[in-house]
């Protein structure tokens, strides 16, 4: 069954994470995505595990459902390949690193095709003193949006999210914007869209900005990250868990104290703290009550604690590593990970698709491409003859295959 975006053609002129991820999402939805790469390839081919050569692990995850064409864009012949592909495309996902190239200026490309949805991703935005910087800096965007204040030890070196959240948020918002612009195309034709890593992180922190409208009042259950210590979860005998019983009745709390063998808490000087504003999760003084809860939890395996908390309708979950997540029953049940054969690499596992369409399923159809793997088929569909293609290859304009 065709996916929701069956029939749309996408050209990707981007590297790293944000642009490639957005283009992959469109590909997952069923669009035909051609990834144009410089002769050296997307920089992300060299990121992550190097055991796979130019198919680095990060690249494998961000580039399925695409065909690769690798051209020397500094030559007229290479730029002409890009222009021909765009003349026939519905969408261009570009980043500012590519859009600065004299041969690939946005105005010149959008003039080729009145129905083109052209999206450009930069680090800090299309206006202002830092306009149109390439979006490959992850840490800089996290620092600029003060995202790093929510991790690590207050007053010490900044800590980033291990996941490239700035680039991923920008990629996710880019996909949204392209889809919306495709929807509006019947009415207004093609248009240009701009997105930045910094702007997306600023948007994602909106709740905090509103809280700061009234700094005297801004304590909130999860808005106090400026003053709370690091959160590692709650240690049990065999690992850490998340737990919260904020809504439990006194009767339920009493049951939990019994089930966890912690009735000693009732005569502890800190009983009131544990029993009220320290009951795990986002409770205001959870961090102060934590050592008392852990005194009981550390005597028990985590599954027993989880069961006891759930028995009183509280919230309790494992704190997983990736290996534990992937091995979990729920992950296996819903097919969280997609594994399929990659020619030459054997079975390759990537993260499954986040949306489940009942009638037009999104799907993984192609593994991440080798550099320039699809040059012949893509160029011949764009009107190049076999001898044209041979000539481009012999002049060094076209790489791969």
């Amino acid at each position: 069954m065709p996916g929701p975006l069956d029939g749309y053609k996408v050209v990707e002129l981007a590297e790293g994470v944000a642009g490639p991820y957005a283009a992959m999402e469109l590909g997952d939805g069923g669009a035909d995505v051609v990834k144009v790469e410089r002769l050296g390839g997307d920089r992300a081919r060299g990121w992550g595990s190097s055991a796979l050569g130019t198919l680095g692990s990060s690249f494998l995850g961000m580039n399925r459902n695409k065909r690769s064409v690798s051209v020397d864009i500094d030559t007229d012949g290479g730029a002409e390949v890009v222009r021909r592909l765009i003349a026939d495309a519905d969408v261009v996902i570009a980043d500012a690193g590519w859009a600065q190239h004299p041969q690939l200026q946005p105005d010149a490309l959008t003039s080729l095709n009145a129905n083109l949805v052209y999206l450009c991703i930069s680090e800090y935005g299309e206006s202002g003193p830092l306009a149109n910087r390439p979006p490959y800096g992850e840490l800089s965007a996290q620092l600029a949006s003060e995202a790093t204040t929510s991790l690590g030890v207050i007053g010490q070196a900044p800590v980033r999210t291990a996941t490239d959240t700035a680039q991923m948020f920008a990629g996710i918002y880019s996909t949204q914007a392209v889809l919306a612009a495709l929807f509006a195309r019947d009415e207004v034709g093609g248009q240009r869209i701009d997105i930045s890593l910094f702007g997306c992180l600023v948007a994602l922190r909106s709740t905090l900005w509103v809280a700061l409208a009234h700094p005297d009042e801004w304590w909130g259950f999860h808005l106090d990250s400026y003053v709370k210590p690091q959160d590692f979860g709650y240690a049990c005998k065999d690992g850490n868990i998340y737990f919260s019983i904020n809504r439990a009745t006194q009767e339920q709390r009493d049951q939990l104290y019994r089930d966890l063998n912690m009735e000693w808490i009732k005569t502890d000087p800190q009983y009131d703290l544990v029993n009220t504003d320290g009951a795990g999760g986002t409770a205001r003084y959870a961090h102060l009550a934590k050592p008392l809860w852990e005194k009981a939890f550390k005597q028990l395996p985590k599954q027993q604690v989880i069961d006891a908390v759930r028995a009183i309708d509280g919230w309790a979950f494992e704190k997983n590593t990736y290996s534990e997540l992937v091995a979990s029953e729920q992950a296996k049940f819903i097919g969280l990970i997609d594994t399929r054969d990659h020619p030459g690499l054997g079975p390759v596992a990537t993260v499954g698709i986040p949306w489940e369409f009942a009638d037009t399923p999104a799907s993984v159809r192609l593994p991440a491409p080798r550099l320039g793997e699809h040059a012949d088929e893509v160029l011949s569909a764009a009107g190049y003859s076999a001898s044209d293609i041979t000539a481009l290859r012999s002049r060094g304009v076209l790489a791969g295959a």
Binding site: G7, T148, D194, S206, W209, D231, I334
Partner: protein, 395 residues
């Protein structure tokens, strides 16, 4: 003033807490007529702080919508809700799987009322499997999906979660927004609505695509690396002479050469230990040991200028007072001022997407049930004029 890209689309927004409301807020910003359906006044519930009975979460997650009051357990209100549904293009809810049936808004009921509706259900853990009925929200999703396993101070044995909860909720909402848009595009082609499911578990695992794929390739769970990147080097913060941290990154060999040149050590670019990104990752401690004293020798602003000359990505921490007045924010309109009844004027994130022809809009959240009469009057007039559903009219 031109309209947003989704003008003409109406959304039945039966959402609570953050994930669903955030999703619908994006649709409203893009021009859809989002009708937020509430069964009771929750403006004061949920996320503290509240001022005059309105909570911060409600304000931030319910902009760009109109509000209507329905008690879906009451027959009269349910009949009205079905009338509204007939004029809607999208149905969105984020309650646990068993709740929809009780409220008469499971897919079977809704699609009977309006067969062409794009019906999107957001859950914590999915519609099937042993965890399907468990609650899901930001904190526990961070723990369960491993998001909290890889963050933290370098050398820490245990990873920590991101303390500003809301980003996982918002991200799931953003994936749901994509699903709705894809469903609308598919409907243009097929003429049919359909059911779409999105879960926080899938969404937040997808958010970690890079790290999870690295784990799947290598079999090694990532360890906390502080400000350093797992798979790129250098990509880390350096303490400068003026005791400020500067983030510096070289994401390919061109930027690496630029970095070596900017710090006056061009010979580093020819050092075999640092030739490619993989080499630099393998020798990241050697590299840090060389670079740290260099950056410590001059103030941060000096390095920003020098690295800028050779095109090396770099940046420095900013705090709210600086962010809200920064030219990048003001010139690009990344923050907007919203007038609220309870809180006065507040600043919040504005549209992250800039459309050249169909600009997004941004307006204050509705008060509880504020537009109930207005919306039902419109619905009755629309249905009287054309009894077919809006979805059918769009074909």
């Amino acid at each position: 003033m031109p309209n947003g890209p989704l003008s003409g689309i109406r959304v039945f927004d039966l959402t609570i807490a953050m994930v669903g409301p955030w999703c619908a807020m994006q649709l409203g910003a893009m021009g859809a007529d989002v009708v937020h359906v509430e069964s009771r006044d929750v403006t004061g519930a949920g996320v503290p702080p509240s001022i005059k009975g309105q909570s911060i979460g409600y304000i931030t997650w319910n902009m760009n919508k109109r509000g209507i009051q329905f008690d879906l357990k009451a027959q009269n209100d349910r009949a009205d809700a079905y009338e509204l549904l007939k004029t809607c293009d999208v149905f969105l809810m984020n309650m646990r799987p068993d709740v929809a049936g009780r409220l008469g808004v499971d897919y079977e009921s809704v699609s009977k009322v309006n067969p062409n509706i794009v019906y999107v259900a957001v859950t914590g853990w999915g519609q099937t499997g042993p965890m399907r009925d468990l609650p899901g929200a930001d904190g526990q999703i961070q723990h369960y999906t491993g998001f909290g396993s890889a963050n933290g101070v370098e050398g820490s044995e245990e990873g920590e979660i991101y303390r500003h909860f809301t980003q996982m909720d918002a991200t799931t909402g953003n994936y749901a927004c994509q699903a709705i848009l894809m469903g609308l595009l598919a409907r243009k082609r097929t003429g049919k609505g359909q059911r779409v499911d999105v879960s926080m578990l899938r969404a937040i695992t997808a958010l970690q695509t890079g790290r999870v794929t690295e784990y799947l390739s290598s079999g090694n769970d990532p360890k906390p690396l502080g400000h350093k990147a797992q798979s790129v080097a250098p990509s880390q913060a350096f303490l400068c002479q003026d005791q400020r941290y500067l983030g510096v990154e070289a994401t390919n060999e061109v930027e690496w050469r630029g970095l070596a040149q900017a710090i006056g050590k061009p010979e580093l670019a020819d050092d075999a230990r640092f030739a490619t990104n993989s080499d630099r990752v393998a020798h990241r401690n050697d590299l840090s040991a060389i670079l740290e004293p260099v950056f410590a020798s001059m103030p941060l602003d000096y390095w920003v200028l020098e690295l800028g000359k050779t095109g090396v990505p770099c940046g420095r921490p900013m705090r709210w007072d600086e962010i809200k007045n920064h030219a990048q924010v003001t010139d690009n309109g990344y923050l907007v001022d919203i007038e609220t009844k309870s809180w006065g004027t507040v600043k919040t994130g504005g549209p992250p997407w800039h459309f050249s022809k169909t600009p997004a809009r941004w307006f204050r959240p509705s008060e509880y049930g504020e537009h109930s009469e207005e919306i039902m009057a419109e619905v009755r007039a629309e249905l009287a004029a054309d009894p077919k559903t809006a979805a059918a009219r769009n074909q």
